[in-house]
């Protein structure tokens, strides 16, 4: 086990747990069983990765100070706890529990919001790479998930090219939300 791989795994545990939280809140807001299902799948990935990470840390044995290794184990465990919390949210949707409207109102009130949009045929987003669009730096919205037909991409890279029909889930601040929606669905928004 080289050191870089260990750091990669830890970074992944943090990233996956955070995407799971974002996804599960958005599943709750739109009542989407499909998104909830993704959260469940990610939990399996998370479990495997967590065990692999713990074994790697234990494997380091006496080569590093024990206190530091315990810190690594606890950090990963907290990420796992956060991921578990996300599955509880996803389960609310999967069990078909009615989501009270007040829940959606409260979630949209938060400074940071999750927005789900389908890219329309006449949207400028279609055919452009995330790097070229620079949405994150321009409007403060980061695309965390893209669904194209049956395929799901998490934390897509700068080289990822969007296409019309893609479902995008983005995270950002309230102002960016409206901007992203108007970019993804220009006609709909101009008519409003």
């Amino acid at each position: 086990m080289n050191q870089e791989k260990l750091a990669n795994m830890l970074a992944q545990l943090k990233d996956i747990s955070e995407i799971m939280i974002d996804l599960s809140y958005s599943a709750l807001i739109c009542g989407s069983e499909e998104i909830a299902e993704r959260v469940m799948e990610m939990e399996e990935t998370m479990d495997k990765l967590h065990i692999e990470f713990e074994l790697a840390v234990v494997g380091l044995g006496v080569t590093r100070p024990a206190k530091g290794l315990l810190g690594l184990i606890r950090l990963a465990m907290a990420a796992e706890q956060i991921a578990d919390a996300a599955t509880v949210l996803a389960n609310i949707v999967k069990r078909g529990l009615k989501t009270h409207p007040v829940l959606q109102m409260a979630m949209q009130e938060a400074e940071e919001t999750i927005v789900t949009a389908e890219i329309a045929d006449d949207s400028v987003l279609g055919g452009k790479s995330l790097g070229d669009l620079g949405l994150e730096d321009d409007i403060g919205m980061r695309i965390i998930v893209v669904r194209r037909e049956q395929e799901w991409s998490y934390n897509p890279k700068d080289s990822f090219v969007l296409a019309s029909g893609d479902l995008i889930i983005a995270k950002g601040y309230v102002e960016g939300r409206e901007k992203l929606l108007s970019l993804a669905r220009p006609i709909l928004n101009n008519n409003q």
């Binding site: 290794l69 907290a78 620079g134």
Partner: protein, 210 residues
């Protein structure tokens, strides 16, 4: 002995929004406390952990009180679960902060991992010539302009958590920001005065370059 919590009528919507935003903020603060070995920040997370517990209890009371029949119960259970989830996330943040408080955060892989995550955390100090100095966060609009959120400000002995739009930044403030790898670099340069103006969005509402 802890103070007893009594029922207070508070809107469920407000409680939920506060539970969600506080618990999310706590995770960022907790990771920051580990990354920057900051025990004060870690203590702050532990304080917030108690606050979230109280908020959850108040949420349960305020939902329980409106339940009259089976239909209400079915509609409210989701809300109660969301409160529980925020509490779990808050405890996870508490566990992360305890890593710092117990001096368990020194392994080099921790620092390395934080350099590889999607969301980056950065700590920086405002120099006297910085464009940030003397401006409110509302005026700077760092979230929409560069995608960076200021999660804490250290001003002398004072620690400001989750500053709002009205907070004025001052020279010598130490900020912790969260954003993309590109955003946090811009943020750092703005604070140090190496970047003279806040970069403006390059796209307008129609996606045209401006």
């Amino acid at each position: 002995m802890e103070e007893e919590i009594k029922y207070k009528p508070i809107s469920v919507r407000r409680l939920l929004a506060e539970l969600q935003s506080t618990s999310t903020l706590m995770v960022d603060l907790a990771y920051s406390s580990v990354l920057f070995s900051d025990k004060d920040l870690a203590e702050e997370v532990i304080e917030l952990e108690k606050k979230v517990e109280d908020l959850k209890t108040l949420l349960l009371m305020n939902t329980a009180i409106v339940i009259k029949d089976a239909e209400d119960a079915e509609a409210m259970v989701g809300i109660m679960e969301v409160g529980g989830v925020a509490d779990t996330i808050s405890h996870a943040a508490g566990s992360i902060s305890r890593i710092v408080l117990l001096d368990l955060g020194a392994d080099p892989s921790i620092l390395e991992a934080f350099g590889k995550t999607q969301e980056r955390l950065v700590k920086t100090k405002i120099s006297p010539g910085s464009v940030m100095s003397g401006k409110t966060l509302g005026k700077l609009k760092l979230e929409t302009n560069i995608g960076v959120n200021v999660i804490s400000i250290r001003r002398g002995k004072e620690l400001i958590i989750n500053p709002g739009a009205k907070t004025t930044l001052m020279a010598e403030d130490t900020l912790i920001g969260r954003g993309s790898d590109v955003g946090v670099v811009e943020f750092d340069k703005l604070a140090k005065g190496e970047l003279k103006a806040v970069p403006r969005p390059k796209l307008d509402m129609k996606g045209e370059s401006v």
